[in-house]
């Protein structure tokens, strides 16, 4: 079973002369238990790819399927549900709600999804614990450092049963030890059966992935030209 699939996905912004081809014909599959890292220079389309995977943006052409369902066939409501229930998304900016404490922020997606408050809080506390900040549970976002807020956002993305975890430079504001912790948590999640897609420019973080794809000018350059064998090379040896 494939959790995430891209079928010939294109994403173009604008049209005519000024059109920007952010993605040009991307094929990609990510299975449960698989962590795929996406690397590539600035502007190569990494965030575009992740936004499409998370249903935050729709392709200009081609299809994005999550657990076999093409996201563009879903209603607004259906898409919102998939985003809330199936997908955990760590954004480049963390979007915590300022009026909620850390634990409330993390519990929110579960509560929205009908989980009882007590159970949602318990799951949220444990997610905060996994990422080393259980003691900050009662703080509001403006009472935390940037790195701490980022960790709350990561806990929020990972709380509950997310089958697809998407992370865009999740270690941005973190020191290297904390960054390592985040990668470990992400890896554990994937080892427990989730599918993961991780955008990173840090090679050491790509080292945690089972597969690394290189984007360049909107294309995955590991399937053609002089780089034909990159995917094979990067396949974990059995």
């Amino acid at each position: 079973m494939t959790v995430l699939e891209f079928r010939d996905v294109h994403r173009t912004h604008g049209d005519g002369e000024s059109a920007v081809h952010a993605l040009r014909g991307v094929h990609l599959t990510v299975r449960p238990g698989e962590l795929v890292a996406v690397m590539g220079p600035s502007g190569s389309g990494k965030s575009t790819l992740l936004n499409l995977a998370g249903g935050l943006d729709l392709p200009s052409h081609g299809e994005v399927l999550v657990e076999g369902v093409a996201l563009d066939t879903l209603s607004h409501r259906g898409l919102a549900e998939v985003r809330r229930r199936t997908i955990g998304y760590v954004f480049q900016d963390f979007n915590l709600l300022p009026s909620l404490t850390a634990v409330e922020n993390v519990a929110l997606p579960l509560e929205l999804d009908g989980t009882g408050i007590r159970e949602a809080r318990r799951a949220a506390l444990s997610a905060l614990g996994d990422i080393g900040i259980a003691d900050l549970a009662r703080r509001f976002p403006d009472e935390m450092s940037g790195g701490q807020q980022q960790r709350v956002a990561i806990a929020r993305a990972l709380v509950g049963d997310r089958r697809l975890v998407l992370a865009d430079e999740p270690t941005g504001a973190l020191d290297s030890q904390t960054g390592e912790l985040v990668l470990r948590v992400l890896r554990d999640r994937v080892d427990a059966g989730a599918a993961g897609l991780l955008v990173t420019h840090e090679a050491r973080h790509a080292g945690w992935a089972d597969r690394v794809i290189f984007l360049r000018d909107g294309s995955i350059v590991d399937t053609s030209g002089p780089l034909a064998s990159v995917t094979d090379l990067l396949e974990p040896t059995p």
């Binding site: 090679a203 050491r204 080292g207 992935a209 002089p226 974990p236």
Partner: protein, 195 residues
């Protein structure tokens, strides 16, 4: 890297024979580097010649343990007290290769860089797996130092590649050998930048 000093350091824990030394060395480096037993014995006999270690009587299995001497201890302390001189390290072969690739006509620089980058990422994946699977002795995490050193070095190499690709390699000009007629240097800009 000094196998000599490594063996001295291991013998500072107590007398050991060749196979024990090899096992202890590999445990210290988390299995990232294996010594062959021949290397161990050659090094031991040189250390013995220089009176830095002394051979002890053979045990029942016919293995001869060695112990560190006072002189050996002085040498070891000196090793720990002296920083490793960067000039003593081998030249960076990759930097030299890339410099030559940049100035050699017909070389696809982008693919030279990408090939190296992929090799680096693969190495990082292996090191990370080793780290996660806990390749060494859990009660003695010193092997992680070696593993992390390799991770940091590989990471640095890839960052250096990224940097060079985005800056220096874009300015590629292949020098043309001087002939009687003056020739302008050829530019291969778009190929390098766009690939």
């Amino acid at each position: 890297m000094s196998i000599r000093n490594s063996l001295l350091a291991l013998l500072e824990r107590g007398p050991m024979h060749g196979y024990q030394l090899r096992a202890a060395f590999e445990a210290s480096v988390g299995g990232t580097w294996s010594l062959n037993i021949g290397q161990v014995y050659t090094t031991l006999s040189r250390l013995e010649r220089d009176e830095l270690v002394a051979a002890l009587p053979e045990n029942d299995e016919g293995q001869r343990p060695y112990e560190i001497t006072a002189r050996g201890r002085t040498e070891l302390n000196q090793w720990f007290a002296t920083p490793i001189d960067r000039a003593d390290r081998p030249r960076d072969e990759l930097a030299i290769k890339l410099a030559l690739a940049m100035t050699t006509p017909g070389v696809d620089l982008a693919s030279v860089v990408q090939t190296q980058r992929v090799a680096g990422i693969r190495a990082l994946q292996e090191y990370t797996r080793l780290k996660v699977s806990g390749g060494g002795d859990p009660d003695d995490p010193s092997w992680l130092l070696v593993l992390e050193a390799m991770i940091f070095q590989t990471e640095a190499e890839i960052r250096w590649l990224d940097f060079c690709e985005a800056t220096i390699l874009r300015k590629r000009t292949v020098p043309v050998p001087k002939t009687d007629a003056p020739v302008a240097a050829r530019q291969t800009g778009p190929k390098v930048a766009g690939a």
